[in-house]
Amino acid sequence: MRKLVVRRLALGVLTLWLISLVVFAAVLALPGDAATAILGREATPDRVAALRDQLNLDDSVVSQYLQWLGGVLTGSFGTSAATQEPVRDLLSARVGNSAFLVLVASLVAIPLSIGLGVWMAMKRDKPVDHVGSTTTLVLAALPEFVIGIGLVFIFATGVFNWFPAVSLLPPGEKAWQDPQVVVLPAATLVLAVTPYISRIMRGSMVEVLESEYVTMARLKGLSERTVIWRHAVPNAIVPAIQVAALQLAWMAGGVVVVESVFSYPGIGAALVDAVDNRDMPVVQTVTMLAAGVYVLLNLLADLATILVTPKLRTAAR
């Protein structure tokens, strides 16, 4: 098991390093002189020179990369080309807001979709199952901004005026101090990821419910609740863990669009502004963060799979 875990960790580090190469290469892809491309043609020579210095554009490409990587590893991500603020200060409050949004969404979505999947499997081929399967099929198809704008129409404008359509926060205030602004963005993310997790959970559960050990447990006279939650679910949940991790990682990208729909003050909306301004240090930092979250979640999902699968747990001990 330890060998398996070490191998998996090494693979994660290798992937992260390759990702850093791709993210760094984006600056090289800027047309012409990178500093002029970022600042625009009207920029004064002084500012261009300052940015060239800051991005170390006069050094060799390898040295530029190493300096940038060193900054990323020590948590200093450079200075925003648009506001001249350190990227770290610019993003720190927003990272908290986005993390809060994703946390709320996952805490609702994961139990909800697991429960839904189990329920649909237990009521297989009954009306509940059919309605559930059609609804998840439709929801899975809808782009997240369509879901978000749909929620705005229903809950923030004409029909019910319950929640703010725009998640504005007074300066300095954090999202968790004003939970109302999180409701609709989080609901959008929940509706976007639930279909995937509940479908995989249903499929896996249907298979397990047909297995001999579930029949055996029933024949032993165990209560239906014990059969489902003690015997069936723990065995059916492995594929759902993998998919849930992928869905959580997907949220790192999903927040970009969802935060833009609601003007939610997180890193996703910051990324959109940064792309608009060609603020490469901010773009690179947010991209590295999102990819890092993906690698980390995948790693955790694999470790969780190893832990809940007895065959892997005892293998290569």
Binding site: L14, T15, L18, I19, V22, V23, A26, V27, A29, L30, P31, L137, V138, A140, A141, L142, P143, E144, F145, V146, I149, G150, V152, F153, T157, G158, A165, A192, V193, Y196, R199, I200, R202, G203, V206, Q242, L246, Q247, A249, W250, A252, G253, G254, V256, V257, S260, V261, L271, V272, V275, D276, R278, M280, V283, V286, T287, A290, A291, Y294, V295
Partner: protein
């Protein structure tokens, strides 16, 4: 939605569809197995409903410009004014006819998504089949490269490229296609790995067939059912991504009419003049639901033709 992809058909809860069509021994069960799958898919209600929806939206996008009452860039009414005799669905934030801009705005979304889908699926099939057939260091290298691209949420990789090069339509097609490729490749590799072990591949190797002939002549015809499912699924995700990029303001640039950018331009006035947002949102939502229904029908038919059903 967008990537968030697990293995395609597995997304749909239809793991069986990932398996290749051919029976043991025979290279291909039927001459054109994909035709059989499509024919069976057409018998399913969901496929027909999906096709009808997709047909309707495509018709609006293609023929819309011909029946539009105004020019898409003509100012015809007070900005954000409601429906009137002159403007069926009112005017947008600049005073242009919402109905006209809606009729003009669908075509770009459609062709950008279609181009990105074809690019992504072709790239993914080539990489996946080569990796499955190689079974050596090349397989490892290709899969490692896949993992790197997979680590970026699709929309973020597109935005990274746009921030460096600018909001160009070819760049959107290219990057959306590239982000699809590893997702397609994983599915195709898994499906082809089983075919590689079959006797007819060994026979082809024994008589000295060229490698490219084996990969595209022997493997490809035996993985058409996951390929069809991938095409549909990637199209659904492409539409969502391309429209989202337009919505974020990095797609078709103003003043050209486009469903994605219409939402972007009019979102602020959503409470005053909902139509200019509602129409494009409804069209994109219907289109993705339609393509997903068709994909689901195809996935079910693919399992059925395999002789197994759940």
């Amino acid at each position: 939605m967008s990537d968030r992809t697990i293995d395609t058909a597995v997304d749909l809860g239809l793991e069986g569809a990932v398996e290749p069509v051919a029976g043991a021994g025979a290279p291909v069960l039927q001459k054109r197995p994909w035709l059989g799958i499509l024919r069976n898919a057409l018998r399913l209600g969901r496929t027909r409903v999906g096709l009808a929806i997709v047909g309707l939206i495509v018709a609006v996008a293609v023929f819309g410009p011909l029946i539009a009452p105004h020019s898409p860039t003509e100012f015809i009414a007070v900005p954000n004014s409601g429906p009137s005799g002159e403007a069926l669905f009112g005017a947008d934030a600049l005073g242009r006819d919402v109905w006209t801009r809606f009729l003009h705005g669908g075509l770009t979304v459609l062709w950008l998504s279609a181009a990105a889908t074809v690019l992504g699926v072709v790239l993914g099939v080539v990489v996946g089949l080569i990796a499955a057939y190689a079974r050596n260091w090349l397989d490892d290298v290709l899969m490692r490269a896949n993992d790197v691209v997979l680590a970026f949420p699709q929309i973020i990789l597109v935005l990274l490229a746009v921030s460096a090069i600018g909001p160009k339509l070819w760049l959107i097609v290219l990057t959306v296609g590239i982000t699809h490729a590893p997702r397609v490749a994983r599915v195709m590799r898994a499906a082809a790995q089983e075919v590689v072990e079959r006797d007819f591949v060994k026979a082809a190797e024994a008589v000295g067939e060229k490698r490219s002939r084996i990969v595209f002549g022997e493997l490809l015809p035996n993985v058409t059912s996951p390929l069809l499912v991938e095409l549909g699924l990637r199209m659904t995700y492409s539409i969502g991504l391309v429209a989202a990029i337009g919505f974020l303001g990095f797609g078709v640039q103003p003043p050209t009419a486009d469903w994605g950018s219409m939402i972007n331009e009019n979102m602020l006035a959503i409470t005053v003049q909902p139509w200019s947002v509602l129409l494009p949102v409804l069209a994109i939502g219907l289109l993705t639901v339609g393509t997903n229904l068709v994909t689901d029908g195809v996935a079910r038919a693919a399992i059925g033709i395999d002789g197994r059903s759940r």
